[in-house]
């Protein structure tokens, strides 16, 4: 039994090392991912905007939650994904891990940006100010800086392999720092703002609000994967353009 699992892992490792295998498999996933994400997000947004009831305390502005929470989750998930890809890249030297890291960065940064903007817009009717230096928004802002750092570092290095390894190291260093940063920002926040309004109190959410939120979260995860695969496939085409299989694909397109 263990031998079977080990063989499967070895097989998977070799497959993942092959850009062609990844390109073929991801190609089959694309239509499904598109359909599922459009469906889930569509239903969630319509439900959240139209059918969900008004919140007792916050009125209608809470509806931003259906975008803000998934974006926040994805922003954090994205960085962890980058760090994992970084570890895989440094330890097992997998090409696909390098590509995954490079492509995740702009997507994660975009969702981080969305989380920040929606958080700030939500804050205005709730707390009266566009930006309130609350612990979660501030941590999200620092996360955006960390993302931009990885993007800036990778674009500053010309050699593709060196850029990949540098990004890997920075992502790993960053991910170790993220819990430390979160803890210190929360600590800092309690010292300066004793009464903080919690934006989300998921456990006390009515099902009419919780279900569209969950649908939205799943939908956005699918969307994230879709965007990531699209970018990774482009990267593969660009990097492997001298190989026969890529030339065949590109020839079919022209």
């Amino acid at each position: 039994m263990m031998l079977k699992i080990w063989n499967w892992l070895k097989n998977f490792y070799h497959k993942m090392g092959s850009p062609k295998w990844f390109y073929d498999i991801s190609g089959r996933w694309l239509p499904w991912l598109t359909a599922v994400s459009v469906l889930l997000i569509g239903v969630a947004v319509v439900w959240g905007l139209v059918f969900a009831p008004e919140d007792f305390r916050q009125g209608n502005s809470y509806r931003i939650i259906f975008i803000h929470v998934p974006a926040a989750f994805l922003a954090q998930f994205g960085y962890i994904l980058m760090a994992v890809a970084g570890i895989v890249s440094l330890v097992w030297k997998m090409k696909m891990a390098d590509v995954a890291l490079k492509c995740t960065a702009p997507i994660g940064a975009s969702f981080c940006f969305i989380a920040l903007v929606t958080g700030a817009i939500w804050g205005k009717p709730t707390w009266g100010a566009w930006w309130v230096w609350d612990a979660r928004l501030t941590s999200m802002l620092i996360l955006l800086f960390l993302y931009l750092g990885v993007i800036a570092l990778q674009s500053a290095i010309e050699n593709r392999i060196t850029a990949a390894k540098a990004g890997a190291i920075l992502s790993i260093v960053g991910v170790i720092n993220i819990p430390i940063i979160k803890y210190s920002v929360e600590w800092w926040n309690t010292l300066h703002q004793p009464a903080t309004l919690k934006i989300t109190e998921k456990s006390t959410m009515a099902p009419e609000m919780l279900i569209p939120l969950l649908l939205s979260v799943f939908g956005f995860y699918c969307l994230f994967t879709l965007m990531l695969l699209m970018r990774m496939r482009n990267d593969i085409l660009e990097n492997e353009r001298r190989t026969r299989w890529v030339r065949n694909i590109l020839m079919e397109q022209t």
Binding site: L49, G59, I64, T118, R233, R241, R247
Partner: protein, 59 residues
């Protein structure tokens, strides 16, 4: 019709909700359109390279 306008207005929170959703939609759209455009650019680049190779081999 009135109901629809009321829904858009969201008791005064409308501008906030719609701008939040709007900005997010723009960012999401950018992240979907950008790889599509890049793919087209790659295909065009390859097309040009192919034509260059053809003219070179026919010389």
């Amino acid at each position: 019709m009135n109901e629809f306008i009321n829904w858009l207005y969201m008791d005064g929170h409308g501008p906030y909700v719609w701008s939040a959703y709007g900005i997010s939609a723009v960012v999401v759209l950018f992240n979907v359109v950008s790889p599509l455009l890049k793919r087209k650019e790659l295909v065009n680049q390859f097309d040009r390279q192919l034509r260059r190779e053809k003219t070179q081999s026919s010389l």
